[in-house]
């Protein structure tokens, strides 16, 4: 064979082949390689500052499993940083129970403090019931409510930032979706990042790893368990974006990373201002949270009414 499948570093049988630079890595060296790429991304973007308390969204699914495993390695070199894992229980029958168990195993293994917050506690009901008559919108409504839940968790645990498990695939798909929708504000300002001085900043340490790398990582670490899939389908446009980018990546390796870097390049050149507000933020007339309009997204998706006073 003209390309024996051996680790470029130690010569043992390789588990993965990566490009840019072209290399083959055994299990041990792939784990190290993936962790180091994330550590580098964290440091390069100064995602975690001295003494930060970092809230880690831990759903128990594959992305957040990798996130907590990698961050708990990272803090071994940063004893000033404290991690707190939070699991949001959306109230999705026959799905969330198993993932919460997975999350509990992970915090036991990593020794990270763990909290659970439920939609019922925050919004008065389970996601299943909140979307009973509009299941097609479940995924986007859930996203809005989960974001608010994490903000609330950050407040409760006095966190300085919120780390989420968004991977390279998620990020590349979002860029394409923003383009296809003509949504320039979302392309140039990450609505999930928060605005300095207003919201707790969000960090996405795994955005340098593809979905495939993340699953490989947790498999090689022995933390892969096939879990039930969320019964609510992802938006149709995301499915399309996923297919298109998947095909392009196969033919032109590096496409995903190029898409995300292209977006990051644009963001560097665009003056910073909260989405569509020219820098102005209000407090929601119903719940009092910060919003760019009059009524916040959470109150809108929950159809909360303004009381006449």
């Amino acid at each position: 064979m003209n390309n024996p499948n051996l680790c470029s570093i130690c010569g043992k049988p390789a588990a993965v082949r990566l490009n840019n630079p072209e290399r083959r890595l055994c299990a041990e060296h792939f784990i190290k390689d993936a962790e180091e790429r994330v550590f580098k991304a964290i440091d390069a973007a100064e995602m975690i500052r001295e003494g930060d308390r970092v809230l880690v969204g831990l759903s128990g699914g594959k992305d957040s499993t990798a996130l907590i495993l990698i961050l708990s390695e990272y803090v071994k070199t940063r004893p000033d940083v404290k991690l707190i894992a939070v699991t949001i229980d959306e109230g999705i029958a026959e799905y969330r129970e198993d993932t919460i168990k997975a999350a509990e195993r992970l915090v036991e293994h990593t020794g990270v403090e763990h909290g659970i917050i439920s939609f019922t506690e925050l919004f008065g009901d389970t996601l299943d019931r909140l979307v009973a008559d509009r299941k097609n919108l479940a995924c986007s409504i859930c996203g809005v409510l989960r974001r608010r839940s994490l903000t609330e968790a950050a407040r409760r645990f006095d966190a300085d930032s919120i780390a989420t498990g968004h991977n390279l695939d998620d990020e590349a798909q979002s860029v394409l979706m923003n383009m296809l929708r003509g949504d320039k504000p979302s392309l140039i300002q990450d609505s999930s990042l928060g605005y300095t001085g207003y919201f707790v900043p969000r960090i996405k340490p795994l955005a340098v790893l593809s979905e495939k790398e993340i699953v490989t990582y947790i498999m090689l670490k022995g933390f892969y368990t096939p879990l039930p899939e969320c019964p609510y389908a992802v938006t149709a446009l995301r499915m399309e974006a996923r297919k298109i980018i998947g095909t392009l990546e196969e033919r032109y390796p590096g496409t995903k990373l190029n898409i995300v870097r292209f977006r990051d390049g644009i963001r560097k050149h665009v003056p910073y201002s909260p989405k569509g507000t020219k820098g102005k933020l209000n407090t929601c007339k119903i719940c009092g949270e910060l919003t760019s309009g009059e009524i916040c997204q959470v109150c809108r998706v929950l159809n909360r009414k303004q009381s006449d006073e």
Partner: protein, 64 residues
């Protein structure tokens, strides 16, 4: 050659040695959407599978 598909169905048949990626494509599976294990070990998809080998195809579904 024994091939375990993502849905756990198994194909067992005599086959000429082939590159895993080509086997995946012949089964209509996009190599980028799966992880493959040869005789129990994760391998890159340009590795050759011999007739005596076992291939397990693990598909990772979307979902946080």
């Amino acid at each position: 050659m024994k091939i375990i598909l993502p849905d756990r169905k198994t194909i067992e048949e005599e086959r000429e040695p082939a590159v895993i990626k080509d086997i995946l494509e012949s089964l209509g599976i996009n190599p980028a959407s799966v992880i493959v294990a040869k005789n129990g070990n994760i391998v890159p998809d340009d590795v050759i599978l011999e007739n005596a080998d076992e291939l397990k195809i693990i598909s990772f579904a979307h979902g946080g």
